[in-house]
Amino acid sequence: MGVDIAFWVLAIVGIAAAIAVVSLRNVFHTALMLILCLLSVAGIYVTLSADFLAAVQILIYVGGISILIILAIMLTREVQHGSLSNKLRIPVFIVAAVFLGVLIFAMVNSPWQISSLPPVEPTTPALAGKLLGEGGFILAIEAAGVLLLASILGAIVLVREK
Amino acid sequence: MKFERYGLGIAKGLSVTLKHMFRHPTVAQYPEQKLNTSRRIRGNELVWDRQKCTGCGTCAKTCPQGVIKIVTSTNRVNNRYEVEKYQVDTGYCIQCGLCVESCPYQTLFMGYAYERAKYRRGELVQNMEDMMLESGKKQPSGYFYPEIAQELPRQTLLVERITEEE
């Protein structure tokens, strides 16, 4: 019961915040709404009993990415211009609506094989075993590390003043 | 081997502040404890010796602010001026001390008191009764009068309080 209420509240808040992101004109308000949306996604993770992922979501998205986005907004002085739409507004809306309809139709009508097993609790050691243990994703982790290093170096090179 | 570059400066600073913490505080708790002011302080009031005053009005003439008001009448019996009214608006007084220095009969002194804050500007006007030496309430300062200065207590400084403790 509690999970149901939490899900509905978080889902409505998340979708409302996402719609605000695409419809508000003030870029700073947009960034704040993005933070609200990301926080509600973290709450959704909690209802899915992925506690580690929820904490990581807040840490990376709220503490890192949205702060970076706000910093970029300040550095580019685009707050006054506002976030306007281009000419494709109506066709894109139709396409998106059709896409959403198809997605929902496919999702609702697919015969999902729901497992009745309880979720793994706690998830942190299980995730660690999955990521770093035998037969895990250690190669992918190494690749992710290289990707992060490359992106940091790339970002520094891009914004560096001559 | 010098350690100046290795964070020793921070340690030195920390030790200084820690030493200060266990030292006696060097401030005076003002309304209860008061320091002795300078013996030659120009307090913001005037003290006036009525007996010696001849009512010549030199003080009023020298005052650059023109805040001294003196009204005299002639006393035919003793053949001298009688001071009817003598008042100073200390709100405009700049404590230059020229009146004190110019008085030919040494009847005017700077006051020794410094706590004369008032709620109304009008209350800052010092009347004759308020500045008389004879009333005994007013202590003249040693400004321009070394013999008075010698009788006053020595000035106390906060610096002395520090050296006392160490």
Partner: protein, 103 residues
């Protein structure tokens, strides 16, 4: 009605579509980046929901969500760096004005 897999999937689809709409229609490059973040998050919700409801003992979905977060962080860093350097060169980040390569 108890919350089931379909609810999470529909939520994920709605978020994804909203993000898609924003990414295609917005003119401000930073807002487009934000919409891309929303889309990545929508995908993450679907991943974790599959992991919770279909294979709750495996956690592979959560592992993939973590990798998507890593990629999103890298993408945000590089994307914002590109936007800032474009802003320095051309003094605007309106995507309609950045049309040097257009024939």
């Amino acid at each position: 009605m108890s919350v089931s897999l379909e609810h999470y999937l529909v939520l994920s689809a709605v978020l994804f579509t909203v993000g898609l709409f924003g990414a295609l229609t917005k003119r401000n490059a930073i807002v487009i980046l934000m919409c891309v973040e929303i889309m990545l998050n929508a995908v993450n919700i679907a991943m974790v929901a599959f992991s919770r409801f279909i294979t709750p003992e495996l956690l592979t979905g959560q592992v993939f969500a973590i990798f998507i977060m890593v990629v999103a962080a890298a993408e945000a860093a590089v994307g914002l760096a590109i936007i800032i350097s474009i802003f320095r060169k051309r003094d605007t980040i309106e995507t309609t004005d950045i049309n040097l390569m257009k024939g």
